[in-house]
């Protein structure tokens, strides 16, 4: 679908309430011309996969600051694959130690991991990059 706006689901899995990052990123993506759906807090992996399906998104951005990223990210990736949504790009942001980030990327659970200090421009640019390579392939 050439010309279709990139649709992004910004999702907050897990039990923590730290939504500053999710909301700032959601707004930046919207300002960069994407269509953004924000789930709100305390979503289960099942709810996130279901919303991704309903909303027909290109990208899911998970925001996790609770330390549960190594449990939640693979679970969400697995559910997406079960639903035949394995081609949706999955990016993760939060307090994620370098070793864990490497493991998430290596295991194919995430397409990109963002950590504190990454600029909004970097995040937007990176998502655009992932999408254009997805759309080509």
């Amino acid at each position: 679908m050439p010309g279709r706006k990139v649709r992004v689901l910004v999702a907050k899995p897990g039990l923590d309430g730290h939504d500053r990052g999710a909301r700032v990123v959601a707004r930046a993506l919207r300002d960069a011309g994407m269509e953004v759906i924000y789930t709100g807090l305390h979503q289960t992996p099942e709810q996130i996969a279901e919303t991704a399906l309903q909303e027909d998104v290109d990208v899911i951005g998970l925001s996790i600051l609770s330390g549960a990223h190594m449990t939640l990210t693979p679970r969400i990736k697995g559910l997406l694959q079960e639903k035949g949504l394995g081609d949706i790009a999955l990016v993760v942001g939060g307090i994620i130690p370098e070793d864990d980030a490497a493991e998430l990327l290596k295991g194919g659970f995430a397409d990109q991991v963002f950590t504190p200090g990454d600029s909004l421009d970097k995040i937007t640019g990176c998502i655009n990059g992932i999408i254009s390579s997805h759309r080509k392939s």
Binding site: L15, R23, V24, L41, S66, G117, S119
Partner: protein
């Protein structure tokens, strides 16, 4: 200042302004971290009508701008209270004993997210979260392990718990009784501030009305039985971490405080019966002077309004006591050692602002929960300020500075403006419902991030003066077996406790919750027979329902 002298100052100021108008200035904006413009110089002209007695007074005297104790840190240094908790109760107990050995003077418990949200460790929502962000507590048994060998009549404990505050507080009290300590000798703080959860921290369970009932039940039970307990810690910390400005933190926190006072009065309590046990919790962000002025303004606003609006007569009701934590959101993942310096500056502002207790963040907290080494440096930072720097020798040393008093006044009037807007919206609950606070904070957070990305706000090591060396720092790893061990111990507990007694207590709780009795005695009874937190919350959810937020960004 008499008129002739003022005229002279004005003239000299004009010629000074002429002189600097031709001088080149740095290109960075001259404003605070909150975006408030800062003038190059303050003079007596900025303090027209300033009245020492009325605006400052003496430490320990109304309106307490200079501090709430008459002799402040000359009497006793602030309480050094590091927020801490991870893994299971055994892990955290070891860390508490270590901190006390290192000279820490109070404890502060960080609970894990399942505990904060009212789930037991074996609940499916707890998967992957047990012991991650704090310590996992399911029952009185865990609380007993957590405070093993810690004399709770000698050490005061602060507990960061809100939605299920009543339950965790009851576990703490039950443990004290088991240690043979009567409740009137137990001191500490329970955060218990649900309004800021709706506004910023977002760890809520029940809707506002039953939440406020649990809070006033705690006020009332403590006034009768646990007189040394701080029944609430009205918190600006999380509002600031969510991205607010200093003025918003000040205004929203105080507005919450007044809402609790009104709730207490509405519940039939005399204001001087519960107000002396209200306490506050502020952030110490990186803008040194703005923070100091925020604390000074907070004390003055609280005292004035409590006296004039709510008719408090007991001086203890007028004194704002507060804890401070340095700003987690000011720390950077890059070059984390720089965070030690940031934290030291922030801690100094809290001390110059007259805090009663202080947590200093560890340099690695932007990456993980802190290691023992990192937390020791953070504690040592406070000890250096207390015992080497000399700042604790005199009281409110910046009081009377033209700049400090001007900024204190300005923050006070910005807060008053917010109070007016909140009133216009119909009060705190109405303002929460329409997303007023949430939107104000989101706007401020977005503007701040944009300013950093644009290089208008400088963060050393991130967008100025940075190196590309990889971060080399040891991080604390949570033992992955914590979750399964905790679940196993919980299962054992449920087998060995008196389950008939548990069911009976839970039934009684359901009945009381549907009525209007004070719920603390029955919750206390339930935790003593080892009903779990999750079981108690589940019963209350059935009666009270759950809170839901409209997601916005």
């Amino acid at each position: 200042m008499d008129i002739i002298k003022a005229e002279k100052v004005r003239k000299n100021k004009e010629s000074w302004e002429d002189e600097i108008s031709g001088l080149p200035e740095r290109s960075e904006p001259f404003d605070t971290v909150s975006g408030m413009p800062v003038q190059a110089l303050c003079t007596p002209l900025d303090l027209k009508g300033f009245d020492y007695e009325e605006d400052l007074g003496f430490p320990g005297s109304y309106p307490y701008t200079r501090g709430i104790q008459a002799n402040m840190y000359r009497g006793r240094i602030w309480t050094m209270r590091q927020f801490s908790g991870f893994g299971d109760a055994y892990d955290s107990n070891r860390r508490y004993c270590y901190l006390l050995e290192q000279g820490q003077t109070g404890l502060s418990v960080a609970f894990d997210l399942p505990t904060i949200m009212g789930y037991d460790s074996d609940h499916e929502r707890s998967l992957g979260e047990v012991g991650r962000c704090g310590v996992a507590i399911d029952s009185l048994e865990d609380m007993e392990i957590l405070f093993d060998q810690i004399p709770v009549d000698k050490v005061t404990t602060s507990m960061t718990i809100n939605g299920p505050a009543a339950i965790l507080w009851c576990m703490y009290l039950a443990n004290a009784e088991k240690q043979g300590i009567s409740l009137d000798r137990v001191g500490g703080t329970v955060q218990n501030d649900i309004l800021k959860e709706y506004i910023a921290q977002k760890s809520w369970i029940f809707p506002p009305e039953p939440s406020m009932r649990l809070i006033t039940d705690i006020f009332s039970f403590a006034a009768d039985h646990v007189p040394q307990w701080n029944t609430i810690s009205i918190s600006g910390y999380h509002i600031r971490e969510a991205g607010s400005t200093a003025a918003q933190e000040l205004a929203f926190t105080l507005a919450d405080g007044f809402a609790y006072v009104e709730a207490g009065i509405k519940a039939g309590l005399d204001v001087d019966n519960f107000a002396p046990r209200l306490s506050f919790f502020f952030n110490a962000h990186i803008d040194f002077f703005e923070e100091i002025c925020k604390y000074r303004a907070a004390r003055r606003i609280w005292a004035r309004r409590m006296k004039e609006l709510y008719g408090a007569k007991d001086p203890r009701s007028l004194k704002m006591r507060f804890h401070t934590q340095t700003a987690g959101c000011s720390l950077t993942a890059r070059e984390p050692e720089n965070n030690i310096v940031r934290t030291a500056i922030e801690a100094l502002s809290a001390v110059l602002g007259g805090t009663q207790s202080l947590h200093t963040n560890s340099m690695d907290e932007v990456l993980a929960l802190p290691t023992e080494r990192a937390v020791k440096i953070a504690l040592r930072t406070q000890q250096v300020i207390a015992y080497e720097s000399g700042v604790a020798n005199t009281i409110d040393p910046l009081g009377g500075s033209y700049f400090i008093e001007t900024l204190t006044n300005r923050l006070e009037s910005e807060a008053e403006e917010y109070f007016r807007r909140i009133d216009e919206l119909g009060g705190i609950m109405a303002a929460i419902d329409c997303g007023f606070f949430q939107q104000e904070i989101a706007d401020a957070a977005y503007a701040y991030q944009r300013a950093i990305d644009a290089g208008e706000r400088i963060v050393v090591g991130v967008n100025r003066h940075h190196s590309d060396e990889p971060v080399q720092i040891d991080l604390l790893k949570i033992n992955p077996a914590v979750e399964s061990d905790q679940v196993r111990r919980l299962k054992l507990l449920k087998e060995k406790r008196d389950n008939t007694a548990v069911s009976r207590c839970l039934e009684e709780l359901r009945h009381s919750a549907a009525g209007s009795d004070n719920l603390i005695p029955i919750i206390l009874k339930a935790v003593k027979v080892y009903a779990t937190e999750g079981e108690i919350v589940a019963v209350l959810k059935e009666v009270f329902g759950e809170y839901r937020e409209k997601p916005l960004f």
